[in-house]
Symmetry: C2
DNA sequence: GGACATTTGTTCGTATGTATC
DNA sequence: AGATACATACGAACAAATGTC
């Protein structure tokens, strides 16, 4: 197992919800299972921590990140913010970019949805957003969005209830059309509408009160 | 020396340009100087790598990141993108935020500039941008901008020539005024203008040709 | 082209402190 | 309160890669 793969293996397990939020990540256990030393495991876990997939508690170790609903809302807001500015950049480019990548992913997604392959459809929906940022050609923005979308996948596992996939797909189609016609203001609104719809598909779980004194009304 | 401080110590040395881009960071040397084990140094360096301050070359070790001019431009574009959307979020808040923090930093900066304390003035200019993002209240966006501004400070060390500090300060003042009056479109334009002015203050060094075959015209 | 010194990448054993039962 | 389990940190060690003479 290569050092690079270690993080990937754990990340995949988290994103595919085999490791659920709050789950403890025992370093010794991981090192035995993956056949590498504890140092390498720590190395990987720190990397995942930087991507927001893992949290550390002092002297307690690593856990799969357990987003609160408040964090989830910040997440949606942040992704929408980056994508809103991204469409500005795409439209401001000296020559219009090829939208073939977006069209291809979108077409595949519609097809997957038609076949009721929701798992694939969801993955392609995320790929669509990656394709969108790729059009900016700005590696820093691409990376910022990549990290946020990673966390998005954790959040959906915790809070998602029911998304209106038809409408979300329509948005993607509209977005392609608007990128062609080049109306910046409408694009920004569309991106906002899109993510607001995603937010609405996430239930408002009662998170309880973390602070004990507060919970007991002291 | 606490583990947390290690990264800070190295980061500060980089940001204050005591360690210049391209400078090699020898693990053994660092561990001896800072009085911690090589493991801790490695963790610190990896952390700095995630923040874009340090690059790794396989089997050659860590170096202070040496941004190219192309990367610098991406950096400016990315910061502008985040701040453009940030002002949207600030204006869309249910109740207008207190601009006292921005005003305080701005006042200090004008004062420092008047006293010709450029070092302090530059730091306060960066603080101003941190204050701006703080108004969004979104920790994810705040963190994204924080990382980009870290790299900005390296870039200025390499490429900065002459900035029109008077005009840049005026922009900050204008920004406060526009946040009060609440005109989103003009704010977005201002943020863009601001960073475009910053870009113009950075010289266009001939970056050479990275690809050897191309450089030799093969 | 080869031998050598240096440094990284990685692992292991161990000591220490801290949380949990 | 005591025992146990675990994370944290250190130092020593080794192979592999690199740069140098």
């Amino acid at each position: 197992m290569q050092p690079e793969e270690i993080g990937q293996t754990i990340a995949t397990a988290i994103l595919e919800r085999r490791l659920i939020p709050g789950r403890r990540l025992n370093e010794l256990e991981l090192s035995r299972l993956l056949g590498v030393s504890r140092s390498m495991i720590r190395f990987a876990l720190v990397g995942l921590h930087h991507d927001g997939l893992v949290t550390f508690e002092a002297n307690r170790g690593a856990f799969v990140a357990k987003p609160t609903l408040a964090e989830a809302n910040f997440l949606f807001e942040a992704i929408a913010a980056i994508e809103r500015s991204a469409v500005d950049i795409i439209l401001a480019a000296p020559r219009p970019p090829s939208l073939d990548g977006l069209r291809g992913v979108h077409r595949k997604q519609v097809k997957a949805h038609a076949k009721d392959n929701m798992r694939l459809s969801e993955q392609l929906a995320i790929d669509f957003h990656h394709e969108l940022l790729a059009l900016t050609g700005n590696p820093l923005l691409i990376d910022a969005q990549r990290k946020l979308l990673l966390r998005y996948r954790i959040v959906t596992g915790v809070f998602k209830t029911e998304l209106d996939y038809c409408e979300l797909e329509d948005h993607h189609g509209e977005l392609i059309a608007l990128l062609e016609s080049g109306s910046a203001a409408r694009l920004r609104r569309l991106v906002d509408t899109h993510w607001r719809l995603v937010i609405r598909g996430h239930i408002s779980v009662n998170p309880g009160i973390e602070d004990l004194a507060e919970a007991l009304r002291l």
